[in-house]
C-alpha cells in the first residue's frame, strides 16, 4: 500500500484549556468534504458535536525491554485496528490526547506497530497553546515542553488575551524550542483547516517551501562580505556601533558561491570556537584566526589588511557591516573597495529552555554505513532526549535523496526524489532536551566522505 492509500492521522495535543475541543468541533463542523473519525480521550473537556467519535482510555504500554521509544498507545492500536476494517466510513483520523499526555507514545504507535503503519500514516502533530498560560506551564511541566517540541504546527491560541509584545516574546521562545514548527496565531481556535489537516508534515519539501531557512544552523557571526583585493595594503574602517568590540575571522581565498560561503562559514565556526585575540586599532589583521577588534575609542577606527598576492578575502563578522558602517579602503588610493558578495547568517542567541532544536547542514555525500553507526549510537544513547528528527541525506552512490524522520529512537529512511542537477547536500534537524550541538555536528562530519 503506497502512502497515498493510507489514511492520514492528525494528533491534537495541548494542555487542558488550550482549546483542543473547540478546534476539534470547528474542524468537524466545517465543510471540507472529509469524513473524519475522532478518537477522543475519556475526559474530553466538552462534548463533540458530530462525526464518528470513539472514546478511548489513554493506555500507555511500555515494553519488557524498558525502552521508552518502544512505548505505544495500546488503546490506539485496538481502536485503529478495528477502524481500518471500516475504511469506507472515513478518510481521515483525528486523535485528541489529554492535556498531560506525552505525544511520544502516540506518534510511536504509527512507527512501531506494523498493522497500524501499513494502513495509517501520521500526517502531523498539532499542539494548541494557551497564549496566556503557556509561559507558566512550560516552567512547571515536562509534558508541555514535550508537546511543543513534538509539534509540526503550534496554534498559539487565545491571542486576544495577551499583548502583541508578549506574543512576540512567546513566539520566539517557542521557536527556539522547536525550529521545525509552524506557528499560527488564533483567537478562539479559529485557524484555517488546511493549516492543521493534510499537512504531510513529515514531508520536508513542504516545510522547506514554507520556511526555507528552518534548517539553517545558527552561527556566531551575522555577516560575511567577500572582497576581491589586489596586492597591497588596505584598511578596514569602522565607525561607532552597538558594541565596544567585535569578533571577526578573515579567510583567504574565500569563494562566492553558496557552497563556498558555507564552507567558509564552517571553518569560521571552528575558529570562532577558539579564544579570540584582542586587536587594537592600527594593527594588521591575521588571517584564519579568531580576533576581537577593540572599538571603544571614539570616531573612526582602522585595522590593516595586508595582501601579498591578489585574492578574495572573506570577512566573517559578529555584527553586520552596516551596524559599524564598516568599509574596506585601499590605503594608497584612499578608495573604497565594495564587497563582491555579502551573506547574512542566522545569529546565535541564548537558549533558556532545556528543549531546543539542532540543525546540521552540510554539502557532499555521506557514507551510509558510517551514518548508520553514528545515528544508531546517537539514538541509543540520546534517544530518550531526542523527540523528533527530520531531514534528508545524500548517500554516496545513490541517485535519490534519502528522507529521514524519527520519533525518539525510531527512525525511517526512505529514498525520495532524484537529486538531478541539485547540489548534493544533507540537512538534519533534531529537536530534543539538552542536546549537544557541537558534539552532534562533529559526529555527523565524520560520516561525510
Amino acid at each position: 500500500m503506497s502512502i497515498k492509500d493510507k489514511v492520514p492521522v492528525t494528533i491534537l495535543t495541548g494542555f487542558l484549556g488550550s482549546g483542543k475541543t473547540t478546534l476539534l468541533n470547528r474542524i468537524l463542523s466545517e465543510e471540507h468534504g472529509k469524513r473524519i473519525a475522532v478518537i477522543e480521550n475519556e475526559y474530553g473537556e466538552v462534548g463533540i458535536d458530530q462525526g464518528l467519535v470513539i472514546n478511548a482510555d489513554e493506555e500507555v504500554f511500555e515494553m519488557s525491554n524498558g525502552c521508552i521509544c518502544c512505548t505505544v498507545r495500546g488503546d490506539l492500536i485496538r481502536v485503529l485496528g478495528n477502524l481500518m476494517k471500516r475504511r469506507d466510513k472515513f478518510d481521515y483520523v483525528l486523535v485528541e490526547t489529554t492535556g498531560l499526555a506525552d505525544p511520544g507514545p502516540v506518534a510511536q504507535t504509527f512507527f512501531m506497530d506494523e498493522e497500524i503503519s501499513s494502513e495509517f500514516t501520521l500526517d502531523g502533530i498539532v499542539t494548541l497553546v494557551d497564549a496566556a498560560h503557556i509561559d507558566q506551564q512550560l516552567g512547571r511541566s515536562d509534558e508541555s515542553s514535550e508537546q511543543v517540541a513534538f509539534a509540526d504546527v503550534l496554534v498559539l491560541n487565545k491571542t486576544d488575551l495577551v499583548s502583541d509584545d508578549a506574543l512576540n516574546t512567546l513566539e520566539s521562545r517557542l521557536r527556539d524550542m522547536n525550529r521545525m514548527t509552524r506557528i499560527i496565531r488564533a483567537e478562539n481556535a479559529k485557524v484555517p483547516i488546511e493549516t492543521v489537516l493534510n499537512l504531510s508534515a513529515f514531508d520536508l519539501d513542504q516545510i522547506l517551501k514554507r520556511r526555507p531557512t528552518f534548517l539553517e544552523p545558527e552561527y556566531p557571526f551575522e555577516w560575511t562580505g567577500v572582497y576581491d583585493l589586489d596586492t597591497g595594503k588596505y584598511e578596514l574602517m569602522l565607525e561607532e556601533g552597538p558594541d565596544p568590540e567585535m569578533s571577526l575571522v578573515a579567510i583567504v581565498n574565500q569563494g562566492e558561491s553558496e557552497e563556498e560561503l558555507k564552507d567558509g562559514a564552517e571553518s569560521s565556526v571552528r575558529l570562532y570556537a577558539e579564544k579570540a585575540n584582542t586587536l587594537e586599532p592600527g594593527n594588521p589583521i591575521p588571517y584564519g584566526e579568531h580576533i576581537n577588534l577593540r572599538l571603544d575609542d571614539k570616531g573612526n577606527k582602522s585595522f590593516i589588511l595586508n595582501i601579498e598576492k591578489a585574492t578574495k578575502i572573506g570577512l566573517f563578522t559578529q555584527h553586520t557591516a552596516e551596524e559599524f558602517n564598516m568599509k574596506v579602503i585601499k590605503s594608497e588610493e584612499n578608495k573604497e573597495i565594495p564587497f563582491n558578495t555579502e551573506r547574512f547568517w542566522q545569529a546565535e542567541h541564548e537558549h533558556d529552555d532545556e528543549v531546543g532544536s539542532i540543525a546540521i547542514e552540510r554539502f557532499g555525500d555521506v557514507d551510509p554505513e558510517k551514518l548508520n553507526t553514528w545515528m544508531g549510537r546517537l539514538l541509543s544513547e540520546k534517544g530518550v532526549d531526542i523527540f523528533r528528527t527530520k531531514g534528508f541525506i545524500s548517500y554516496s552512490g545513490n541517485p535519490r535523496r534519502i528522507v529521514f524522520q524519527g520519533v525518539h529512537m525510531l527512525f525511517t529512511a526512505q529514498p525520495d526524489k532524484e537529486w538531478g542537477n541539485e547540489p548534493r547536500r544533507n540537512q538534519l534537524v533534531f529537536i530534543g532536551r539538552n542536546l549537544n550541538e557541537k558534539e552532534m555536528q562533529e559526529g555527523f562530519d565524520k560520516c561525510l566522505i
Binding site: I54, F61, M63, S64, G74, N82
Partner: protein, 357 residues
C-alpha cells in the same frame, strides 16, 4: 522405484460453495453440528448459511450500532452470542437468528466472548472488566477492573477463566470469586491460547514475541525473533504444537520432549504476506492458515513443527477468519471484501493411496 515411501495421510481442498455478506467479514463459525455456517460482518450484519450448500437461511443487519466486534457459538451449536461497539451482547438462536437476550454492559466496546467448554457460561470482556453470564443471560460474576483493557479471555477449566491484559494473565475461580493465579510480565499481551489440558499459557505480545508459562511448574519463557506481533495462536488438540502468526511464515513451537525452550521452531513458508488467521483442525496435526494476500493453506505437521502443505486455495482478499467444520471435512474462510469460501476437505489415507509401491 522401490525406495519410494508410501504417502503419509494427505488431504486437499475440493470445491464447496461461496457466498457474500455485506461488509468486511470478521467472525465466522459452524453451528448446529456443522449444518449451519454463521458469518458476522464489521457493520453488524449476521448471516446463516446452509453448511453443505451455502444457501442463505436467514440474515440480519445492523445488529450492533457502530459495528460488530465478536461472535461466539455455543459448543452445543444451538445458540450463539455477538457483541459490538454499542456495549451490548446479544444471545441468539441459531435456527432463526432470533434474539433470546440482550445484555447491556455500558458504553464501552465489547471485544471478546467465550463460551465455557460445557456451555454453562459465557465470558465477556469489555474495557477493563470481565463478566460471566449463564446460557440464559443471567449475570454470575464480574471481575474488578483490570489494570488495562482486557485483550483476551479463555476458559482453563469449567469454572476457571483466564484473562490477559497489559502486564499479566490472571486465573479466576468464578464460582468462588477467587483469584487462583497471576502470571506477570511487563509487556502488552495481545493474544492468548491455552493448551487443551490448561497447563500451557501462550500469549502473543506487542513487542513481537510469544511469552508462555507452564502453570504446573511456574516456569516461563519468551520466544523472540518475530518480525511482527503474533496476534494469532493455535494449539493442536494434543497440546503438543503451537502455531503462531507474526509474519508471512507460520512459526510452530513443539512442546514434545524438552521443547520448545532451546529448540528451533518449525517454519511454514506458504504465504507472501503476513498471516491473518490460524486454526488447527479439531483433531490431528493439520493447521489451516489465511493471509493478508488472500491465500489459504492447510498444512500437515510433524512432531517437530515442520510440515508440508496439503492443500491451498485463493480466497480473494485478506482472510479475516478461518474455521474447520466440527468433523474437519470442510474448511471455511471469510475475507475483507465479505466473501465467504467453503471448501470440502477430503482426507486420503494409506488405505486408499499406496503411492508407487
Amino acid at each position: 522405484m522401490s525406495d519410494i515411501e508410501p504417502f503419509s495421510p494427505r488431504g486437499m481442498f475440493h470445491e464447496g460453495w461461496t457466498a457474500e455478506v455485506n461488509d468486511y467479514a470478521i467472525a465466522c463459525g459452524w453451528a448446529l453440528k456443522g449444518k449451519q455456517f454463521l458469518v458476522g460482518d464489521v457493520a453488524g450484519g449476521l448471516f446463516a448459511f446452509e453448511g453443505d450448500t451455502g444457501k442463505i437461511i436467514w440474515k440480519k443487519e445492523n445488529t450492533h450500532s457502530g459495528g460488530l466486534i465478536a461472535m461466539a457459538i455455543h459448543p452445543e451449536g444451538e445458540i450463539f452470542a455477538t457483541s459490538g461497539q454499542d456495549g451490548n451482547v446479544q444471545i441468539c438462536n441459531c435456527h432463526e437468528g432470533k434474539v433470546i437476550k440482550t445484555l447491556d454492559l455500558g458504553k464501552d466496546w465489547v471485544e471478546h466472548l467465550k463460551w465455557s467448554n460445557d456451555g454453562l457460561f459465557l465470558a465477556i470482556a469489555s474495557s477493563k472488566k470481565v463478566y460471566v453470564f449463564n446460557e440464559v443471560g443471567e449475570e454470575k460474576w464480574i471481575s474488578e477492573d483490570h489494570p488495562s483493557t482486557v485483550s483476551a479471555i479463555t476458559w482453563s477449566n469449567k469454572n476457571e477463566l483466564a484473562t490477559a491484559c497489559y502486564g499479566r494473565v490472571t486465573f479466576f475461580d468464578i464460582l468462588n470469586n477467587k483469584t487462583n493465579q497471576k502470571l506477570e510480565w511487563q509487556g502488552s499481551l495481545v493474544s492468548m491460547e491455552l493448551s487443551p489440558d490448561g497447563d500451557i499459557v501462550a500469549c502473543g505480545s506487542q513487542d513481537n514475541s510469544v511469552h508462555f508459562w507452564r502453570r504446573s511448574t511456574g516456569m516461563d519463557a519468551e520466544m523472540t525473533g518475530y518480525p511482527g506481533k503474533p496476534s494469532h495462536l493455535s494449539f493442536d488438540d494434543s497440546g503438543k504444537l503451537l502455531a503462531t502468526s507474526g509474519s508471512e511464515r507460520i512459526t510452530v513451537w513443539s512442546f514434545i520432549g524438552n521443547g520448545p525452550e532451546g529448540t528451533m521452531p518449525g517454519e511454514l513458508c506458504h504465504h507472501t504476506e503476513p498471516i491473518s488467521s490460524l486454526a488447527f483442525s479439531n483433531k490431528g496435526m493439520l493447521v489451516a492458515s489465511g493471509s493478508r494476500d488472500g491465500s489459504v493453506v492447510a498444512s500437515f505437521l510433524k512432531k517437530d513443527g515442520n510440515g508440508d502443505p496439503v492443500g491451498a486455495a485463493f480466497a480473494g482478499d485478506l482472510v479475516g477468519a478461518i474455521s474447520w467444520r466440527p468433523d474437519d471435512c470442510a474448511l471455511a474462510a471469510v475475507n475483507a471484501k465479505g466473501v465467504v469460501n467453503v471448501w470440502k476437505f477430503k482426507v486420503r489415507t494409506n488405505l486408499f493411496s499406496k503411492g508407487f509401491k
